[in-house]
Symmetry: C2
Subunit: 197 residues, 2 copies
């Protein structure tokens, strides 16, 4: 998605070979117009998948997921990283290790909101080692629902998450795919390589 | 906001005289169309305030805040309840006690994203005792920015938050104002009482 790549190149900051900081438009300060365009792009990509629900994880997944839900006219459920005292229903849970935060969370969603009749699109802001996405897949599958696809805003393709999800036979679509953050620069994976030859 | 009151009456669950559970459309499962209407309503109400930024707090404030930001064409900054390893900037902070979760959090936003030139609209899903809203006000004021108003989705008017904010001279606009949750029922404050006489 060219608009997103331009935004990353303009406003993203490479903190190390593994860490890209995009808190100026995605995960601290949010650009709502960009989120709308991201939502439209997910809706276009997954139009044939008969999605009935979107599942994401707090907090940075919520904005792109809600915009996708608006475009696809389906509800969005966000997994919680901590339990609320008012979230008293039976829960679907998974354990997720966050490399960014260096901590393990038990993530959960209420089992009222996803069931075996659903075709779920999982959306998240980043795909790196795949811990969060794999946790979300596990929770959705516990409910009996089908994971119809995973939509990622920014994929760090040099880490293992995308491969792990592909190995499970899950369709993964990332709007920006980063080949490398070496030397302080963002290098994207070139799409449609054949067309360029 | 009639649409919101209808949704609360239809899908909200009164768990006690103090607790209204709306996780079926606001703070766990999100109804994106309703969030869009909420965003439009905030944009309409605060149209004259020359808002330049919206500040909210993770996680349930994000969806209504992003929809309001979309309508008002301003960026949204969400305060974090926990520090991220990649959020390394100088921070504005405040301490907030959550009655719902029975814990104290140090909330923070980067001081890069709000400054004294800003007129800030604070948005949150609930206003009860006002802890979160007061923390957000304090952070915004630390930056030198002006708090131009507070937009709340659901106000529990029988608790003290709204009064505390009014006492600070801040404009508070809540889309649903609940007078009581007694006897398992949601009773709203009647607006425009004069017109009904």
């Amino acid at each position: 998605m060219r608009l997103l790549e331009e935004k990353i190149s303009k406003d993203g900051r490479v903190l190390s070979e593994n860490v890209l900081k995009v808190d100026s438009f995605l995960n601290h300060r949010i650009d709502p117009q960009l989120m709308l365009e991201i939502g439209k792009e997910f809706a276009r990509i997954f139009a044939g998948e008969e999605i009935t629900k979107i599942v994401t994880i707090e907090s940075s997944g919520i904005a792109p997921a809600v915009m996708a839900g608006l475009q696809m006219n389906v509800p969005v459920i966000f997994a919680r990283k901590r339990k609320s005292l008012t979230l008293v229903d039976d829960l679907l849970t998974a354990t997720v290790y966050s490399f960014t935060k260096n901590e393990t969370n038990e993530i959960s969603i209420s089992n009222k909101y996803v069931d075996k009749s659903d075709r779920v699109l999982i959306i998240d802001d980043f795909l790196a080692n795949g811990e969060a996405a794999l946790g979300l897949v596990k929770m959705v599958q516990q409910s009996g629902a089908k994971v119809a696809g995973i939509g990622i805003v920014i994929e760090k393709s040099f880490q293992q998450g995308a491969k792990k999800l592909h190995d499970l036979g899950i369709r993964v679509e990332s709007l920006a795919r980063i080949a490398s953050l070496a030397n302080g620069e963002v290098t994207y994976i070139k799409e449609n390589v054949e067309e360029l030859i």
